[in-house]
């Protein structure tokens, strides 16, 4: 009996409750034709239905989480489990095998020793399934009975239903927040483990990044975990090269779109830019790795720079800049459009040309919004993973030459997590520390940017 079936069952009961309660409300109405019900009959229906479905669904969820454990307990208590190995992988595998056979997911056990466990599993699973089913029914019935008995002609079913719906909406929004908190907490936890092995000083200020996932975890070699080259690579690619591309192009397109473009042109160009923002970054990654990077190397070589890398920071940065253009341009567009038209008229009426008006009045007035847009763009660029994974290298060079290969924080996170190191090796854990730093930086950038935007909005309202 899978949780899905319990869920369907709860919904079916809810439907029944809905019909019954609505019918009951109608009988109130028929019994006293002159009296107005405090709520429409369908709200009575919803009230009962919610009281049936919500407790039952909550129980089904809890049961789905709980029952595998209960099953395991009872299997382990059975005599067949007595001769299982006490610890380790083998014990786990045998249990899993037996369980799979019992559930019908695999035809037969591979390890004959596990065969004896199949029968206990089967009976425990069906036993707990029946318990789950019965309990769901009882809970749904109790909820339904409780709510059904409260129905009266003057029962304010609508306000109650609205309150319940509001609570559900609130819980839904809490899911996102709680998830964020959970993510941060786990990140912090793993980061602390990492810093237990490698000192934060080595990590934050060291200039050598060369973790060895195969080294002895007890001797973490802190001097191999200097993240400065990664931070530099990230800033160089995401905040410098990409922004050198994105800021002028984004700003110019925003100026063109808000100040010069014919409405018909704007109707085409703006959506086109927005589509650019929707292109999956992996596509940019291909473009960077297959087209731009070799092109840049060939050009560099033809200019006589023989040591140009085919995984240059320039290629990743350029493509990332193009990816970021829509962000910069749409933020700049919004902020320029938010500058009151009176400002523009004031300048034009002084005999300023439109370009003077844009340069000296519109852009300065829109500057806070533009700056905020750029900061959001930077925070996106430095968190961007796919393009750099595909186009940048994994070699941690501390260099100011855009033709050198460089790596970024995100590239190293991927490299460390998918590397050969075991999960509790400092090389693997370093990914969490890197992620944590990245998280803090982007959080800070977003926070400041949103504050700036808010202040900016207030200034013109």
């Amino acid at each position: 009996m899978s949780p899905a079936i319990l869920l369907l069952l709860a919904l079916a009961l809810g439907l029944a409750g809905w019909l019954a309660a609505r019918g009951r409300a109608w009988t109130f109405k028929r019994a006293q034709p002159g009296v107005r019900l405090a709520a429409l009959p369908s709200y009575h229906g919803w009230y009962v239905a919610l009281w049936i479905v919500i407790p039952a669904v909550l129980f089904a969820i809890v049961w789905a989480a709980l029952s595998p454990n209960l099953v395991l307990q009872s299997v382990l208590a059975s005599p067949a489990a007595a001769d299982l190995p006490v610890f380790g992988l083998q014990r786990q595998t045998m249990l899993a095998e037996a369980r799979n056979v019992a559930l019908g997911n695999s035809p037969a056990v591979f390890n004959p020793a596990a065969a004896g466990l199949v029968e206990p599993f089967r009976s425990a699973i069906s036993f707990y399934n029946w318990i789950g089913l019965a309990a769901t029914l009882v809970i749904a019935f109790l909820g339904g009975a409780f709510s059904f008995l409260r129905l009266r002609p003057d029962f304010t079913a609508r306000t109650r239903v609205e309150k319940m719906v509001m609570t559900i909406l609130l819980l839904a929004s809490l899911v996102a927040i709680l998830t964020t908190i959970g993510i941060v907490a786990s990140l912090v936890f793993e980061t602390i483990r990492f810093f237990g092995m490698v000192s934060p000083i080595d990590f934050l200020f060291g200039a050598q990044w060369n973790p060895d996932p195969m080294s002895n975890p007890l001797n973490p070699q802190g001097d191999r975990y200097g993240a400065i080259p990664l931070f530099w690579g990230t800033i160089f690619i995401g905040a410098i090269i990409a922004m050198i591309v994105a800021i002028p192009l984004g700003l110019m397109s925003a100026i063109y779109l808000t100040q010069y473009a014919d409405p018909r042109v704007r109707a085409w160009v703006k959506p086109a830019l927005e589509i650019l923002a929707g292109v999956p970054t992996v596509v940019y990654g291909y473009f960077a790795a297959l087209t731009i990077a070799p092109g840049i190397r060939d050009i560099a070589v033809s200019l006589g720079i023989s040591n140009a890398s085919s995984e240059s920071a320039l290629a990743a940065g350029l493509v990332m800049g193009v990816m970021i253009i829509p962000f910069v341009s749409s933020m700049a567009d919004d902020s320029i459009a938010a500058v009151p038209g009176a400002m523009r008229d004031g300048s034009l009426a002084m005999g300023a040309t439109s370009s003077e008006t844009i340069r000296k009045v519109m852009i300065p007035a829109a500057l806070p919004g533009i700056v905020a847009g750029v900061m959001l763009a930077v925070s996106r660029a430095i968190g961007e993973t796919m393009i750099v994974v595909m186009a940048a290298s994994t070699a941690a060079n501390l260099s100011a030459n855009p033709l050198d290969s460089m790596t970024t924080v995100t590239v190293q996170i991927v490299a460390m997590l998918t590397g050969e190191g075991s999960f509790d090796h400092p090389a693997t854990l370093s990914a969490f520390a890197l992620g944590f730093v990245l998280f803090l930086v982007t959080l800070g950038l977003n926070f400041i940017a949103l504050r700036v935007v808010k202040r900016f909005r207030e200034a013109y309202e």
């Binding site: 009151p340 009176a342 400002m343 523009r344 008229d345 004031g346 300048s347 034009l348 009426a349 002084m350 005999g351 300023a352 040309t353 003077e356 000296k360 009045v361 300065p364 007035a365 200034a459």
Partner: protein, 262 residues
């Protein structure tokens, strides 16, 4: 048809509009208006809301060019030269015909920069000293100098509404225009600030040709020497302010100034 009083002495016309029509798309907002704007006088445009005062005022420095749907027909001259001549440089025109808007619209820059903006873009000042002098002179003429001389670096938007409006007037004066157009310059201000602006207009009137749009009969009577009454896109009557208010020739003018409609 427009009634123009015949007792107007022969003052030199600074601007002259002849048979001007303005359309927003297919909708006509101004219907064959002809008027002489005299040199060194204040001319008031009055009339009910939506009658086209702002529209006509904006024709005088071609601010209607900034509205894509607006189309202007007819001829308007400044010192005899047609300002709708395609060869005319609209930037030069607007430097000569300044404008003050209904809502004060200082730039979000310092007080100093607000005034220096125009002189800078028109290259009036050789150096910093000259620019300082222009800023001071303009602020003095706008009667704002004493109030702001110690805080020239503060933002123009931090001033009170009345101060902002005088800042906008100072800004318009700073480019040394010949005509100043004001579209309800006091409608966002309290009576004291209004009195200051009216005083300022009186001070300025000998020096510039001033056109002011206003909804206040008293204001028109106080500050202007000429008044034009607009109604439904047409100019109904034009004459000396004293005559228009005491002795209008048209029934519609009479009705409007006695408050019977509008």
């Amino acid at each position: 048809m427009t009634v123009v009083h015949d007792n107007l002495e022969d003052t030199e016309a600074k601007m002259r509009a002849h048979d001007v029509n303005v359309f927003y798309g297919s909708k006509q907002a101004i219907d064959s208006v002809s008027i002489d704007i005299p040199q060194k006088y204040v001319t008031a445009f009055i009339g009910p809301s939506g009658c086209g005062k702002s529209t006509f005022l904006r024709c005088l420095n071609r601010m209607n060019d900034t509205i894509p749907a607006a189309r202007v027909e007819g001829e308007i001259t400044l010192d005899g030269e047609n300002i709708y001549n395609p060869k005319l440089d609209v930037v030069q025109l607007r430097a000569r015909v300044g404008m003050v808007f209904q809502k004060p619209n200082p730039f979000p820059k310092s007080i100093y920069e607000n005034i220096a903006y125009g002189p800078k873009i028109h290259g009036f000042a050789e150096g910093k000293d000259e620019l300082d002098a222009i800023v001071e002179k303009s602020l003095r003429r706008a009667g704002l100098w004493e109030e702001v001389k110690d805080r020239l670096t503060d933002s123009g938007t931090a001033l009170s509404g009345g101060q902002q409006q005088r800042l906008c007037i100072a800004r318009a004066i700073a480019v040394d225009p010949e005509v100043i157009l004001m579209d309800e310059p006091c409608s966002a201000l309290d009576p004291i600030a209004t009195a200051k602006i009216e005083e300022l207009i009186a001070d300025l009137s000998g020096r510039y040709a001033i056109v002011i749009v206003t909804h206040s009969m008293q204001q028109a009577a106080r500050v202007s020497q000429r008044t034009a009454f607009f109604h439904l896109g047409k100019m109904v009557e034009y004459g000396r302010t004293s005559d228009i208010f005491t002795n209008p020739l048209e029934q519609r003018t009479q009705d409007y100034i006695t408050g019977r409609y509008g």
